[in-house]
Amino acid sequence: MTSSEKAPAKPLTTAGRPGAFMLPGAAAPAALLGGHCRSCGAYDFPRGRFCPRCSAAAMEEVPLSTRGNIHTWSTVYQDPGPSFVGAKPFTIVTVELPEGVRVVSTLSVAMPPEELRVGLPLVLDVVSVGSDADGNDCYDFRFRPA
């Protein structure tokens, strides 16, 4: 985004929640915003009001690590339908972050199956996914090899 573009940049919702990630700005790089329970220490993504483990209303917002490793993955050859944005086939990944949180997204770059493996280091990527019905430029997070 540059300041000359009129439409506001809008991150998509994740698991029905807005504000799950922060677009890169002048002050800070892009980051996923998770929750950390002040009561029991559990992490969650995206952040809800209550802790997924102890249900305490004590979730503070914390930026999560932008680097993680592939926990599991699958390259999908079937057409996922008209809402999908990107090249096909595409690879779904579950990424384990150092906080212990597992996040599901896709790879932002195509990778041959023989190069994919559990444990492969990945880094957060922010991608433009077009504009929504209100004309906002929408962005979402994916991952690419670190």
């Binding site: 698991a15 599991t72 999908v76 050859y77 008209p82 809402s83 599901v104 896709t106 929504d132 997070f141």
Partner: protein, 391 residues
């Protein structure tokens, strides 16, 4: 809770019936179940109708059987809809709200991947294709391969077994043998899942009539199929000890609760109908239901232990892979299969039971749904037992 009995079961054969009315399939399944029970539509005091589509209410599809004024409650619980309707009917009878109740599940589905034709609002999940169920189960398969040495061939063996069983089920969608080479060579859907490792989309209906001890005394003919456990779970917190999407924890907890309720263990089961929506799910659920230790699931299918003739037959009906998976009908159809098997009415796919004298205890496992956080939403585990006298 008062004892609850299965009085009658019925199914409209699973398959593709795009030109058939849903009401015809529902009427056929309910009529079969009523006939099986020796009852008439007017005897049903309460009905639960499961469907996964908006607007497909039970009141629309049951009214053709006669305007009896029976109360009808709609149940939507994704792939677990049929067993959720069954659970509800059993609880109503067990609580004394009705002597005879009906659970029916029905579905008419579009071809292709579930939800693929649906335009969705732009969200992280929709633009990344994360609602693609094959992708989710491709990740489950990859996890099994990485952690427990499961191979693509092991996954294929599940499909070979269930398709073989389906050959003997006149109500199955696919009645064809699928040799392991054919399964492995079929089109890649979501690496490592090939087409024949994925349950198809299906049309169909299944119905179960349940009744109280009083109703069973009146209508059952010397063979009593009694509900001995009914356990449910939604997604539990599982930390990071298991993969997310977490296919395991919910089923582990529900099955442990069911075994406790029934005062028995997995070693007492004569057969299992479990939710093999994709081949890796069956291997995982062998372990999650306690049929073997975690990590040993593939060994069961390699050794033939879960064949119809094996130590613990799993999915003698053909399972979802062969019988088909009409979302909300699936859970009710599992109860139909257990009932036929426990009565010794399953024909060429009849299991012998641990005693060799016919099975007495069967378990049905029917999870469903995916929440916005890409986790599995709900699971039902039911255990049925054949008895020669009323409890």
């Amino acid at each position: 809770m008062e004892p609850v009995y299965i009085l009658g079961v019925g199914m409209h054969p699973f398959g593709r019936y795009p030109d058939k009315l849903i009401s015809d399939m529902v009427e056929d399944a309910v009529t079969d179940a009523l006939k099986d029970a020796g009852l008439a539509w007017q005897d049903i005091e309460l009905a639960y109708a499961a469907n996964g589509q908006p607007g497909q209410h039970g009141q629309r599809f049951l009214r053709g059987l006669g305007l009896s004024g029976v109360p009808i409650i709609n149940v939507e619980n994704a792939c677990a809809g049929g067993s959720s309707a069954f659970f509800s009917a059993c609880m109503a009878v067990g609580a004394g709200a009705a002597d005879v109740a009906l659970a029916v599940g029905y579905e008419q589905m579009a071809r292709g991947m579930i939800g693929a034709n649906m335009a969705r609002p732009m969200t992280h999940e929709s633009v990344n294709g994360l609602f693609a169920m094959p992708g989710m189960f491709g990740m489950v398969a990859r996890n099994l391969m990485h952690e427990h040495g499961v191979t693509a061939r092991d996954l294929a063996l599940v499909s070979v077994k269930n398709h073989h069983n389906g050959v003997f089920n006149p109500r199955a969608q696919y009645r064809m043998e699928t040799p392991v080479e054919d399964v492995l060579a079929s089109r890649m859907i979501a690496d490592p899942l090939t087409l024949l490792m994925c349950a198809p989309t299906t049309d169909g209906a299944a119905a179960v009539v349940v009744g109280s001890r009083r109703a069973a005394a009146r209508y059952a003919n010397g063979v009593y199929i009694r509900l001995v456990a009914a356990a449910q779970r939604s997604e539990p917190y599982a930390g990071t000890e298991v993969s997310r999407p977490d296919i395991r924890t919910m089923t582990m907890q529900a099955s442990r609760a069911a075994y406790e309720q029934g005062g028995l263990g997995p070693e007492d089961l004569d057969l299992v109908e479990l939710h093999d929506c994709f081949a890796p799910a069956e291997i995982s659920h062998y372990e999650n239901l306690g049929l073997c230790a975690v990590g040993d699931g593939a060994k069961l299918v390699r050794e033939g232990a879960t064949n119809i003739e094996g130590r613990i037959p799993v999915n003698p009906s053909g399972g979802l892979l062969s019988k088909g998976h009409p979302i909300s009908a699936t859970g009710a159809a599992q109860i139909c299969e257990l009932t036929w098997q426990l009565r010794g009415e399953a024909g060429q796919r009849q299991v012998a039971g641990r005693s060799g004298q016919g099975p007495t205890i069967g378990l049905a496992h029917n999870p469903g749904g995916i929440t916005a956080s890409l986790s599995f939403a709900h699971v039902n585990v039911h255990i049925l037992k054949r008895e020669d006298a009323l409890a």
